[in-house]
């Protein structure tokens, strides 16, 4: 018997608001197994998802009312995209089509009956890119506004199961992060998800992006990339935040094999609040007296500086030359080059 045939499964309702739909597109990239097989084997059933469900129009609004009235059980409310409170707190920047009611009002009602509430992606978690610049739409996250707890639902909000909003942050979020979080909630016996200090599932934030980065050897020797497409470490000149960003991007591949750093660009720490406003050019490392400000958080600065200058003087020629080339110009030699 397939898990989805047991009773009515673990019910999920997915709504999209002020985002780009990218977290859903990312979810559809789930692999080994594919999205629908994974959901089915975990007994997860979508009451509705805007991208792949059959129901449309009034069928959907009737279903939403049944959930709000407690006639249909809602295990997990997933919200993708920022919550648009504007203009002037009215929520009119996003009205749920066919209902004449702002999406923020629907989310408040549904969150009140959900056993778990999940923010899918950094927009829903913290406000994300939609809240950048002058934040023209008064965008915020479900329970955060940037780093401040609060957001649409407020600091005190707890879902039916007594948990705060679970922030499956990322821009976009990785399909594995979403599916493993849902599976943790759906499969009895696995206990509550362990959340980090920003209510993100620790299953992916117990790592740093730096862990497993293919540029680690360049990092060790402070052999740095200078322009895009260079192979070196991107921390010193190109703004890479991989040593501070909490995510397992270089351990758990994206789209089969990739990651941002593999794709040739620095980590912009997209799982964190306010990544959208770093206060400087994204591809630039702010420095004071030639030393990057954003050093690894848990390393004493003096040590970092001492180790870096030591490492630089020990850099093998191979590493130094490859760092500023877009392909390996110097392969590992059998003999030490003795330089």
């Amino acid at each position: 018997m397939a898990a989805s045939e047991r009773e009515d499964g673990f019910t999920v309702l997915w709504l999209q608001s002020g985002g780009c739909g990218g977290c859903t597109m990312s979810l559809l990239c789930a692999e080994a197994p594919d999205l629908f097989t994974t959901l089915d084997s975990a007994g997860i059933r979508f009451l509705w998802h805007p991208s792949f469900s059959e129901a449309t129009g009034e069928e959907v609004t009737a279903m939403l009312e049944a959930v709000c009235a407690g006639e249909t059980r809602l295990d997990a409310l997933c919200v993708e995209g920022s919550l648009l409170r504007g203009p002037n707190g009215t929520g009119r920047f996003h009205v749920l089509a066919g209902t004449d009611t702002p999406m923020v009002r629907w989310v408040e009602r549904l969150a009140a009956v959900a056993r778990y509430t999940l923010a899918i992606g950094t927009c829903a978690a913290f406000g994300g890119v939609t809240s950048a610049g002058p934040n023209p739409t008064e965008a915020c996250g479900l329970q955060y506004e940037g780093e401040q707890s609060g957001g649409l639902l407020g600091d005190a909000y707890r879902s039916g199961a007594g948990l705060p909003v679970i922030n499956v942050a990322g821009c976009p979020t990785h399909p594995g992060w979403v599916l493993e979080t849902l599976m943790t909630l759906a499969l009895d016996g696995m206990g509550d998800p362990l959340l980090d200090d920003l209510a993100r599932p620790a299953l992916y934030t117990d790592h740093l992006v730096h862990h497993g980065c293919a540029r680690n050897e360049y990092y060790e020797y402070k052999a740095s990339a200078e322009v895009p497409s260079d192979l070196g470490c991107m921390m010193e000149h190109m703004g890479c935040l991989g040593t501070q960003a909490r995510a397992d991007c270089n351990i758990r591949p994206w789209n089969g094999t990739g990651s941002c750093t593999d794709g040739g660009y620095p980590c912009v720490n997209c799982t964190a609040p306010e990544f959208e406003e770093p206060g400087h050019h994204f591809l630039e490392t702010p420095k004071v007296a030639g030393i990057p400000i954003g050093l690894p958080t848990d390393m004493p600065k003096a040590w970092f500086v001492a180790l870096a200058s030591l490492a630089k003087s020990a850099t093998p020629r191979r590493v130094r030359e490859n760092a500023v080339a877009d392909h390996i110009v110097n392969s590992p030699a059998k003999e030490h080059d003795g330089e």
Binding site: F36, T56, E58, W254, V268, C270
Partner: protein, 483 residues
């Protein structure tokens, strides 16, 4: 006369509401509303132009590479810079991967599931279509989704991740491809080709791409039979339901041209109307704010002069979408427009016979799958590992530039103006902004609004199924529209 408000629409990207008036079982007028606003143009104001490449992909998760390419081209144009050939090849490969994945997703997950609905019970083809296309449960929901995810591994290899890669840069690509990676790309393309040839077409891509006219297509489908070819399955449904008579719009088509390489484009741009091909004059693009919740000049202006300032109180307005016009008139964009402008004989003939309609839009999208995969194979084979992928273009201090590209859904333009190294103005006109535009100040309806006129409305239908087919035939992307 009856009035209906239809929404939320599922299986379209983002939020859409359609208001219709029906008379004698037909839509007499339609108003298309994008009920969400996000404000990217306001967000980009004052930013470093290079940072547009981090924000722009986030306009849309379904065409994020197209947004990156448009932004990169706009900055490149302003700098008068050029990307090295490898950079162009890589950019074309990731852009094509996104466009094709989009066509593929649209067909299997967004469009076909409607024919598996109970409304079509009793049709001879219905049980077969239910087996193959039923939402979340049909065979294709699993095998096509898996094929798509495997195809997107191309993004993992060439662009790190998808959506929201930053590999595409004004100076080319931020990643050099190794010989081994080039082979991996060719294998992935081979795997996708195999799925298309086994399931989507049941025939070689080259055979489908060479179909030269409507009778050719019909003869091919008759010979093949609907079992084992999703295109033939679709054509049988289209014939029975009359999809070639549904959803005809203004029949004015525009394409910016697509996949540039060394100054040439795989699909050339232009405007096609009344059987004639005309050159495109991008200076004749204006955005009209008459029906939009926007404040600003009542005179339609070119995107370089455009402003985006929301005003929810405007009485006569009914959408967050602006109304772009080319030389004062609405145009339809998308795969059908691209292929009719590029002069593909099958599409030219279909359009000559029945115009732009639901069937022809779907056929054009599938045709692009057959045409573009071989082009991707050629770009991949031509990549030269060891040669540059990126050339530093310098920082943009002053100037203006345009990035005109073709996303899966049609013509996408970014216009940037920079002063003192900061973005002074950034305007975006997305494909769905063209297609789902509201009425302009002359009362001329946008392409979808016109296409909906005449669609049948059953007496007890609250969300008319014909309306859904017409809407989805454009593969709308509302999040782009309301950037």
């Amino acid at each position: 006369m009856s009035r209906l408000v239809v929404g939320p629409f599922n299986r379209v990207e983002g939020d859409l509401e359609v208001r219709i008036e029906a008379e004698a079982g037909q839509v007499s007028s339609a108003w298309v509303n994008s009920p969400m606003y996000r404000g990217f143009e306001q967000i980009l104001h004052g930013k470093d132009p290079g940072d547009a490449l981090v924000y722009a992909p986030r306009i849309c998760g379904i065409c994020s590479v197209s947004q990156s390419v448009a932004a990169a081209h706009a900055v490149r144009d302003a700098l008068g810079a050029e990307a090295p050939p490898n950079g162009e090849r890589l950019t074309n490969l990731v852009l094509a991967a996104e466009n094709l994945a989009d066509h593929f997703t649209h067909f299997y997950l967004f469009f076909m599931p409607d024919f598996a609905r109970a409304a079509y019970e009793g049709r001879a083809w219905h049980p077969d279509v239910v087996r193959r296309f039923r939402a979340e449960q049909g065979a294709a929901a699993t095998d096509a989704v898996a094929a798509r995810a495997a195809f997107m591994n191309l993004m993992g290899v060439l662009a790190g991740k998808w959506p929201h890669t930053h590999t595409v840069q004004a100076g080319g690509a931020a990643k050099g491809v190794t010989g081994a990676e080039k082979l991996r790309v060719l294998s992935l393309l081979g795997q996708f080709r195999r799925y298309l040839e086994e399931h989507t077409f049941g025939d070689r891509l080259e055979t489908v791409a060479a179909l030269a006219g409507g009778s050719d297509l019909a003869a091919w489908a008759a010979e093949r039979g609907p079992e084992g070819s999703d295109l033939a399955r679709f054509l049988r449904v289209a014939e029975d339901v009359g999809l070639a008579e549904l959803g005809r719009s203004h029949d004015r088509f525009m394409s910016y041209g697509s996949y540039p390489f060394q100054g040439e484009r795989l699909f050339p741009g232009g405007v096609f109307a009344g059987g004639d091909l005309m050159p495109l004059d991008a200076d004749a693009i204006r955005e009209d704010l008459y029906s939009s919740w926007m404040s600003g000049a009542r005179e339609p202006v070119h995107p370089y002069e455009g402003v985006t300032l929301p005003d929810a109180e405007r009485e006569e307005a009914y959408s967050w979408c602006k109304a772009p016009r080319l030389a004062g008139r609405p145009v339809e964009v998308g795969a059908l427009a691209r292929q009719v402008v590029a002069g593909h004989p099958l599409i030219r003939e279909l359009v000559a016979e029945t115009g732009g309609n639901v069937r022809n839009r779907v056929v054009a999208r599938l045709l692009e799958l057959a045409r573009v995969v071989p082009a991707m194979e050629a770009w991949a084979r031509a990549i030269e590992p060891g040669e540059p992928f990126y050339r530093e273009p310098g920082a943009l201090q002053e100037g203006e530039g345009a990035g005109l590209v073709e996303a899966a859904r049609g013509s996408l333009g970014h216009w940037i103006r920079v002063h003192n190294g900061r973005i002074l103005n950034y305007q975006i006109v997305a494909p769905t902004t063209w297609n789902f535009s509201p009425r302009d100040r002359d009362g001329v309806p946008g392409p979808l609004e016109a296409a909906l006129e005449g669609a049948p409305v059953g007496a007890d239908e609250r969300t008319p199924v014909a309306v859904q087919h017409v809407v989805r035939s454009f593969d709308p992307c509302m999040v782009c529209t309301v950037h």
